[in-house]
Structures are given as structure tokens and as C-alpha cells.
């Protein structure tokens, strides 16, 4: 295993896997968990830690991937793993990295780069824990990766809406009724864009989807290699929360990308790079209509044509009106454009 040369932010150099056949065979997330059939988040855990390798500490904030993954005596984690509180993925990553760094630089522990990964769900990460994640992304002297597995609801506690639940979705906190068809009228937070835009010294932010497993693992490897605090947002189809046949998990992940609802990109040192099928969309391939994605899921079964049109319009805006399509929602005013182009 190669190591980078400077100690302060020394990291493991994890080269990308060049194709599925080059992926290592060792598993660090194995049997013992009891997630649902078709659970993409469990797959994300497995790929995440496979990409990171054995010299890794994983911190897991409360959520499905805690409760369903680590029953006492049947833990699936081969690497050291520890629970952290619902809103604490940022603090867990920071505290673990700071503890290791202090002990190594004071000679109290053998110096070596150890990967620190903290994961959170959309509730723990984008709602309750967003402040702590934001703080951690400003602490550039500590190496850690925060991975947000986004199954678009508080799926462990009975499918309640989060700030990441799509507009109009049926959850137990937003049931469609006779007087109100749509209870959840908010548009989903733009987490990866927010983290990249708001933390200029965070060197790496990416979005991933486990439907594209090798690329997903390579983004994790890139984040861990580049060092400092990094952030990855993974979109994880959830059969229980989204109400679909578990066999469709991968297909729904693909459709989320092909419809342009969820873009795949990485922001490294401020540079935005689209990849995978999102890159094709940017280069001109037509986006599939959002209805192809939405109508495969029971949580949108109450949608009328009006709702589908509204959803399509909002996604179109992401691609046609945002300054950096599907990444940054700012728009330059005409006056501003002129001012910027005067040079």
C-alpha cells in the first residue's frame, strides 16, 4: 500500500479500480446484517468499505444502516466500527481523525494513514447533522470521508419524510388524503452542491449511485486519497420506502440518473466534472421523462398529470436554468453577465 509523503495529511494512495475484474475480492462488510431485500444502502456499505480496504475505521450514525446492520453478536463489519448519534456523522469523523492525528504526531501511536469514514442517512445527514458535517468540511487538517446514503426518508423509523424526500412523495408523515393530495410540498435539498459550494477548502465532493458500482467505489477511493475532509452523496433506491418490487432497485437508480433527477458529478478542487450517464446528458443526450421513474414507485401513485408536469418542470429548470446545470442553482442576471464579460 502506497502512502503519500507529507505527514500532516498523509493518506493511503488508493488507485482507481480499472474495471470490475480488477476489483479486490476481500469483503469488509459481510453476512450478519438484516437489511431488506433489494436494499441499495446495504450495497453502498459493502462497496464503500471494499473500496476503502482494511486499514479503515467506520463510524455509523443512527439510521437503517445502524439499526438493521449491527445487531449485537451479528455485526457484518470486519473493520472497526462504531455507532455515533443521529446528527453526529460530522463530529464522529472529526473526533476520530483528530484523535488518531494527535496520538500519531505525539508518538503515542504508530504513525500510518488510517481511513476514517462516517456515514449518515438523509435524515441524520441532510436534516439533523448538516451543521456538524458543514463544520467538519472546514477542518482541512483532518482526513475523513462523510458518506450520505440517501434513501429519501427516515426509512428505519417507518418511512417519515426528510428534507431529502422528493416533492409530493407519500410517506407516513405525508399521506395523500381527500382534502390534500400533496402534503409534502418542499423541493429536495441540493446536498452535494451545497457542500461543494459552501466549503471552499473541502477538496472533494461527489455524487454516486450503486447502480454503477465500480465508479461508485472509485469515487470513495478518490475521496480517501485526496485527503482532508471530503463528502459523497449516494442516492439509494429503497423498496420499502419507495414502494416498488425489490428487483427494480438497480433500474430505479439508473432511471434517476437518466431522467436527470439525480446527477452524477464530482467536484475536485472546485472543478466540476460530470461522469457516467450524466456526462452524456450534459453532452446532449435527451433526458428520459421523469414519469418513467416516478410511476414505477408506489410513493408517487397519487400523482396527477399536474403533479407530474410540475415535477418535470422543476427538473428541467435544474438543467436549463442553473448556472452549473444540476449542480449549482444560481443564475446570473443579465446585468451581472455583462459586468463579468467586460474584461
Amino acid at each position: 500500500m502506497a502512502e503519500s509523503t507529507t505527514f500532516t495529511n498523509a493518506t493511503q494512495i488508493l488507485e482507481p479500480f480499472r474495471g470490475v475484474k480488477k476489483v479486490t475480492l476481500e469483503e469488509y462488510f459481510t453476512s450478519g446484517h438484516r437489511t431488506c431485500q433489494g436494499c441499495e444502502s446495504a450495497l453502498v456499505m459493502k462497496l464503500m468499505v471494499k473500496a476503502a480496504g482494511p486499514r479503515t475505521i467506520v463510524l455509523g450514525s443512527t439510521g437503517c444502516m445502524y439499526v438493521a446492520n449491527t445487531t449485537y453478536y451479528t455485526t457484518p463489519w470486519v473493520v472497526p466500527w462504531m455507532h455515533t448519534q443521529l446528527g453526529s456523522s460530522g463530529s464522529a469523523a472529526l473526533g476520530t481523525a483528530a484523535g488518531l492525528k494527535a496520538l500519531m504526531r505525539k508518538g503515542k501511536m504508530k504513525a500510518e494513514p488510517i481511513n476514517v469514514i462516517a456515514f449518515c442517512g438523509d435524515g441524520g445527514g441532510a436534516d439533523m447533522g448538516v451543521g456538524a458535517i458543514s463544520a467538519t468540511l472546514t477542518h482541512k487538517e483532518y482526513n475523513s470521508l462523510i458518506l450520505l446514503y440517501d434513501n429519501e426518508s427516515y426509512a428505519n423509523t417507518d418511512i417519515q419524510l426528510s428534507g431529502m424526500t422528493p416533492f409530493g412523495a407519500h410517506t407516513t408523515f405525508s399521506p395523500p388524503g381527500k382534502a390534500k393530495r400533496i402534503i409534502h410540498t418542499r423541493w429536495k435539498k441540493n446536498m452535494a452542491g451545497m457542500m461543494a459550494a459552501g466549503h471552499p477548502e473541502c477538496r472533494y465532493v461527489a455524487t454516486v449511485c450503486a447502480s454503477y458500482a465500480v465508479e461508485m467505489m472509485n469515487k470513495v477511493r478518490r475521496a480517501l486519497t485526496i485527503g482532508g475532509p471530503t463528502f459523497i452523496h449516494s442516492l439509494d433506491p429503497c423498496p420499502k420506502g419507495w414502494d416498488y418490487d425489490p428487483m427494480l432497485s438497480h433500474e430505479l437508480g439508473e432511471l434517476a440518473i437518466e431522467t436527470g433527477i439525480f446527477p452524477l458529478y464530482e467536484v475536485e478542487d472546485g472543478g466540476v466534472k460530470y461522469y457516467g450517464k450524466t456526462k452524456a446528458l450534459v453532452e446532449g443526450r435527451a433526458r428520459k421523462p421523469v414519469r418513467e421513474y416516478l410511476l414505477k414507485q408506489g410513493r408517487f401513485a397519487h400523482f396527477t398529470e399536474e403533479d407530474l408536469e410540475y415535477f418535470q418542470k422543476k427538473v428541467d429548470e435544474m438543467w436549463e436554468k442553473w448556472e452549473i446545470p444540476a449542480v449549482v442553482p444560481f443564475r446570473r442576471l443579465e446585468a451581472t453577465k455583462a459586468a463579468l464579460e467586460v474584461k
Binding site: Y66, M82, S88, S91, G95
Partner: protein
């Protein structure tokens, strides 16, 4: 009977500094070579963080110093640093301590020996900077060791003792040191600062052993346990707390051996109690007006004494009963409240009532609430409480109702 409260003469190698309680804690943290410290501003505890920041800026202490974005993160960061083997320090006051509450709850079952300074402060609302003990008392049932200090010297000494006790594998529990806001955190006194070599003899390195979270020791910490195991884990916590009695006694004995000073009785200070008819009980800096009042009253023939509790968790039940049950009457002065509690009494009064329940002799006990929100406890308050205690002694019984002292009607 301990009367003298001035520090023992300095050993040749000790430095004598004029420092506040917070600064004394920072001196101890430097000597203890802490590894990770997290800060967040709230008065009055934050003076300790200002002192640590200077130590780090001047190169006297090498530690990861992190300014968090709130108390929740502040405590969670050091919790995780401790699990990978770092010696950690944290602290807060008032509603800041409340904001961290979720993270305070999880440290005892995780067996994280973090040390926290609580600069006692009234809870909101309304806003007040002054001392009340309710903030620190939030954790009294949770497995935190909890003590109150009275002087800068005690702040320094107790901080060193705290690490030795909390990091003892028989205990492995978090420990909160409570210091009265302003009266101690901000008040300076001459304090002996021992040399590092002595501290190294007294304080072993933090060794997390088989609980270390590290790739060489790939354990899973705090899996979902539910009703299968939770009650066993709670009992383990309780047993660790019970073992702390021995560990605290040992630590103070060793402290006296290494540093040549420190109290014989770790649990509470006894001031003129040997022949006392009335014993007053309190925690923290309330001892000062009480001691002055006692001297005044003794000059007039009133045999009054003070027990100042240092350790609240674990509660020194047996020693306290032995020290108190011989008096003709007891007056417990709480700088806290517990609305709706038995007799509306403060927390300390009801703990002592419970401790005395099985005692062969139970003196009448009067309960007082005084000095909330940082209001000064006056000599008049103490005289009044004492006279009421004499009344109960004469009657041979006490009305259990609680008396609020120094309150505008």
C-alpha cells in the same frame, strides 16, 4: 477536624501562581498532556478554553484544539477521539451543557473517560450568568462521576485526580468537575503547580486496551442491543460506579504520597464539625460565607460546623451518614432546585434524607434553597438558617418543608 484551608507549603519544585479556577484546570490539563480538546463559547466555563488556547499557541501544550460549531458536536468530537485512545477534555455551562445532553448520555455506556469542566450557571430563561447547580446535576443519574470544587488549588488537583480515576479500567466512566461560575471560574488565588515529573509519577498513560477502536483491534462498538442486553449493560455501568469508591480513595492516597498535600477524606471537607451541634451542608464556593459565619457564630458560643461535599457521584453515603448523624440538627443549603420533589427540597437535601433513612440516629434536617442565579449567599442567610436549625434541635424534630433564603417577597 480540619480548620486550616490554606494550601500546604510549596515543595521546592512547585511553582506558585496567582490564577483563577479555570486557569488552574488549564495548568492541570497541560501537565496531564491531553491530546484532544474541543471548545465552544459560553460563559463562565469558557475561560478554561481561553487559557488552553494560549497554552497551545505558546507551545506549552501539544494537542488537537478544535473549536466546534455547538456543544453537541463539542462533546461528540472528544467522545470519538477518546475511543481511538486520546486523552480528551471538554466542558460547558448552563444551557450549553443542556445542548450537549444527547452526547452526555452516551458516554457512560460507551465507557469513555472524558473529563469535562462544568462552570455552573443558571439555566435559561431568563438569561443569567450566575451560578446554579442544576446544569451539572442533569447527569447525576447517568453514570457520570460528578464532583464540586471550591478553590483554584482544588481545581488543579482534582483535574489530575479526575484523569486517574476516570481512566482506571475498573471505572472507565466520564467525569464532570463542577466549578461555581464566576466565584471560582473567574476568581484568582495562589495555587501550587507541581512539576511534570511528579504528575507523570501520579498519572499513568490512558490505555483503552481491548476497547480501542483501531484497525489492529477491529471491534464493533455500540451495536443495536435492545431488550436482549440493555439491562446487563446498565448493571455494568452501575458496577463501574460502585468500583469508583475504591478507585477514588486510592487516587487521593496516591496523590498525597506523590505531591505531599491533599485531603485525607476525598469525599467532603469537614470544617469545625468535631463538636458541632448544628452542621450545615453545601457544595462549592458557598463554603466561604458559611465558614465566615461559623467563625462569627462560634465567637458567640454557637457550635456550628460545615460539611462541604466534594463528590456527589458516587455519593459518599456511609461516610456522610457517619459524619452527620451525631449532630443535633442539620441544615442543607442547596444552590439548585427540584420543582415538585419531596417537600420541594433541593437535590442535595433529598439525597441526604435518603442516605440517612437507615441510620440508627437521624437528626432533624432542614432544607434551604439559596443563592440561585448567582445571588450572593450572605452571612445573614447563614445565621438565619442556623437559628432555624437550633430551633429544630430544641424541638427534636423538623418540619420537612423547604425554606428559600434571601428571596424578595
Amino acid at each position: 477536624m480540619a480548620v486550616a484551608t490554606r494550601p500546604a507549603p510549596a515543595a521546592a519544585e512547585d511553582k506558585e501562581l496567582l490564577i483563577s479556577g479555570s486557569e488552574a484546570v488549564a495548568e492541570a490539563l497541560t501537565l496531564a498532556d491531553i491530546d484532544v480538546v474541543t471548545a465552544y463559547p459560553i460563559r463562565p466555563y469558557d475561560t478554561v478554553m481561553q487559557a488552553i488556547a494560549k497554552k497551545i499557541a505558546n507551545g506549552q501544550l501539544v494537542a488537537e484544539y478544535i473549536v466546534a460549531e455547538g456543544e453537541h458536536s463539542q462533546f461528540e468530537i472528544v467522545k470519538h477521539a477518546s475511543t481511538v485512545g486520546a486523552r480528551v477534555f471538554c466542558g460547558s455551562s448552563g444551557v450549553g451543557w443542556a445542548y450537549a445532553m444527547e452526547c452526555l448520555v452516551v458516554t457512560p455506556p460507551l465507557r469513555v473517560p472524558m473529563i469535562a469542566l462544568v462552570g455552573n450557571r443558571a439555566l435559561d430563561d431568563p438569561g443569567a450568568f450566575g451560578v446554579e447547580h442544576n446544569d451539572a446535576l442533569f447527569v447525576r443519574d447517568l453514570g457520570w462521576l460528578l464532583c464540586w470544587i471550591d478553590t483554584s488549588q482544588e481545581a488543579l488537583d482534582t483535574t489530575l485526580i479526575a484523569y486517574r480515576v476516570a481512566e482506571d479500567r475498573r471505572v472507565f466512566l466520564p467525569l464532570a468537575i463542577s466549578a461555581d461560575g464566576a466565584f471560582l471560574t473567574h476568581s484568582q488565588a495562589l495555587t501550587l503547580v507541581p512539576p511534570k515529573e511528579k504528575v507523570d509519577r501520579f498519572l499513568p498513560r490512558y490505555n483503552r486496551g481491548d476497547l480501542l477502536l483501531h484497525p489492529d483491534n477491529p471491534i464493533t462498538v455500540a451495536p443495536q442491543a435492545n431488550e436482549d442486553w440493555v439491562i446487563e449493560i446498565r448493571r455494568q455501568n452501575n458496577e463501574a460506579m460502585a468500583r469508583a469508591y475504591t478507585v477514588i480513595e486510592e487516587a487521593y492516597a496516591e496523590f498525597r504520597r506523590v505531591f505531599g498535600r491533599g485531603p485525607e477524606n476525598p469525599w467532603f471537607e469537614e470544617y469545625m464539625t468535631e463538636d458541632a451541634e448544628v452542621i450545615l451542608v453545601g457544595m462549592g464556593t458557598i463554603s466561604l460565607p458559611i465558614k465566615v459565619a461559623i467563625r462569627e457564630m462560634r465567637a458567640k458560643g454557637r457550635k456550628v460546623g460545615l460539611v462541604r461535599l466534594r463528590w456527589f457521584r458516587p455519593f459518599p453515603t456511609d461516610r456522610l451518614v457517619a459524619a452527620l448523624s451525631g449532630a443535633q440538627a442539620l441544615g442543607v443549603i442547596d444552590r439548585d432546585y427540584s420543582f415538585g420533589s419531596p417537600f420541594g427540597s433541593g437535590v442535595v437535601a433529598n439525597e441526604i434524607r435518603a442516605a440517612l433513612y437507615n441510620a440508627a440516629r437521624r437528626p432533624p434536617l432542614l432544607s434551604f434553597i439559596c443563592g440561585l442565579g448567582g445571588r450572593e449567599v450572605t452571612l445573614e442567610d447563614v445565621y438565619k438558617a442556623t437559628e432555624m436549625c437550633y430551633g429544630a434541635a430544641k424541638a427534636g424534630k423538623s418540619d420537612p418543608k423547604t425554606h428559600w433564603l434571601g428571596v424578595r417577597e
